[in-house]
Amino acid sequence: MINRIIRQIQRYKGWFGGAAALCIFLGLYIGLLASPPDYYQGELVRIMYVHVPLAHTSTMAYSVLFFGSIWYLWKRDPLVDNMCQASASICALFTTLALITGSIWAKPTWNTWWTWDPRLVSFTVLLLILGGYIMLRRLVDDPVQGGRYAAILAIVGGIDLPIIKFSVEWWRTLHQPMSFSTRGVSISEDILVPLTLMSIGCWLLFAYMVMVRTQILYLTDLLHAKKGRFLSQTHFSQTTP
């Protein structure tokens, strides 16, 4: 008996995947080829069309994980746990990509691959927390207990991340002035169109990936249960007098 929500996902996930591909394709085309170079940053602005949507999506992915974890501790629905597990690994993927593209962007603009910028630090910590989350799930024997522990970590991490970002920001302003910030850049229409397209595309891509991954996790659990029933039946029939 397959869950109703899983059936709905099977039905609609293709739309998300298709829309994501369309948005990302259009966004990349406009951003990388069709739009003019930025007045201040020149051709470098084009990295932003990839980096900023990735970073936004990874923040959003963590919010999904955070609220999903609260929901899971509250309702104990195994499907929600599957969704949390799916969002965590995909969030880790987006965070890694955001860090790499951020580093590539930092080299020409700040003339260094790495700087203790609050956003960079908080994304690194986010990646560390997600790494801990994924490890934690593997290290618990009982999968239900593992889901509960992982949810606890995700909740504590979700509350801590804004505090981490805030404290690093404070710490940085104390020791050296803030370096280049995207907030200072005036957003012109040339930038806005590809940026919006790419952001929507990345969000849709994330949604699509979570759907597929949740499905896989759910069906794997179901298969294990079925296999277990089969194993248990042979066990029962062998030992019943």
Binding site: I129, L136, L139, R148, I152, I159, D160, S167, W171
Partner: protein, 225 residues
């Protein structure tokens, strides 16, 4: 009130066990001594360099020794399956959490108070005026570490590779405490006026409140099956 009685019983039990063996605190002390030695050899420091680095060194030593104490807090419950009896006792789980936090806080703070004179001695610090402020900073930062650390100590004690997982999970989350504690300690040691670093003490207080409340609520999900 059964709630406060439970807290008292847990603290009483942990303190009495520790007093009889002195296992946790002596291992914390020796580890911290080694950390101090390693640091003084890795940086050949004059007075000025020491002033710059000392706050960081103090908190690296305190945090790592704290993790040793926090880890022992729940591994000691594994003997004779005592954790099982904590799980199935009718007392409120939050009270058990607060009792454990209080005990861990006391262990960590006592080790810190014992260690601090050694820092003063080894690194020639001038601290007479700052002692009161430092005590407040140490207490607040230790409370923050103990609040999150006790939660994760209980969480990691029931999984594989627990000795590795406690620092792996705890240290990233403790970054705000580390930053605030180091900055406030640096300020207090260099004799700045209080208003220069009071913001860090505020941050410590906020962190302590948020994470005591959150962990208090989440602890129930760790101990309950």
């Amino acid at each position: 009130m059964p709630f406060f009685k439970t807290i008292r019983w847990v603290v009483w039990k942990d303190l009495i066990s520790e007093w009889r063996t002195r296992e946790t605190m002596s291992s914390m002390l020796f580890f911290a001594l080694i950390v101090i030695l390693v640091f003084s050899f890795s940086f050949s420091m004059d007075q000025d360099a020491a002033r710059q680095l000392i706050a960081g060194i103090i908190w690296v030593a305190f945090t790592f020794t704290g993790i040793i104490g926090l880890g022992k807090s729940f591994t000691s419950e594994l003997q004779n399956d005592c954790l099982e009896s904590l799980q199935m006792c009718p007392a409120p789980k939050g009270a058990i959490y607060l009792g454990k936090v209080a005990a861990n806080f006391l262990f960590m703070l006592s080790v810190e108070i014992l260690l601090f004179p050694l820092f003063v001695l080894f690194f020639n610090l001038d601290v007479i005026e700052a002692v009161g402020t430092l005590l407040i900073i140490f207490s607040l930062a230790t409370l923050g570490l103990a609040a999150v650390g006790t939660l994760f100590s209980a969480l990691t004690v029931q999984i594989r590779a627990r000795e590795v997982m406690l620092p792996v999970l705890l240290l990233p989350l403790a970054i705000p405490v580390m930053i605030a504690a180091v900055e406030a300690t640096r300020g207090a040691l260099s004799g700045d006026p209080f208003s220069f670093y009071s913001q860090w003490i505020q941050l410590l207080i906020i962190f302590d409140i948020i994470f005591t409340v959150v962990s208090f609520w989440l602890f129930e999900f760790i101990l309950d099956s």
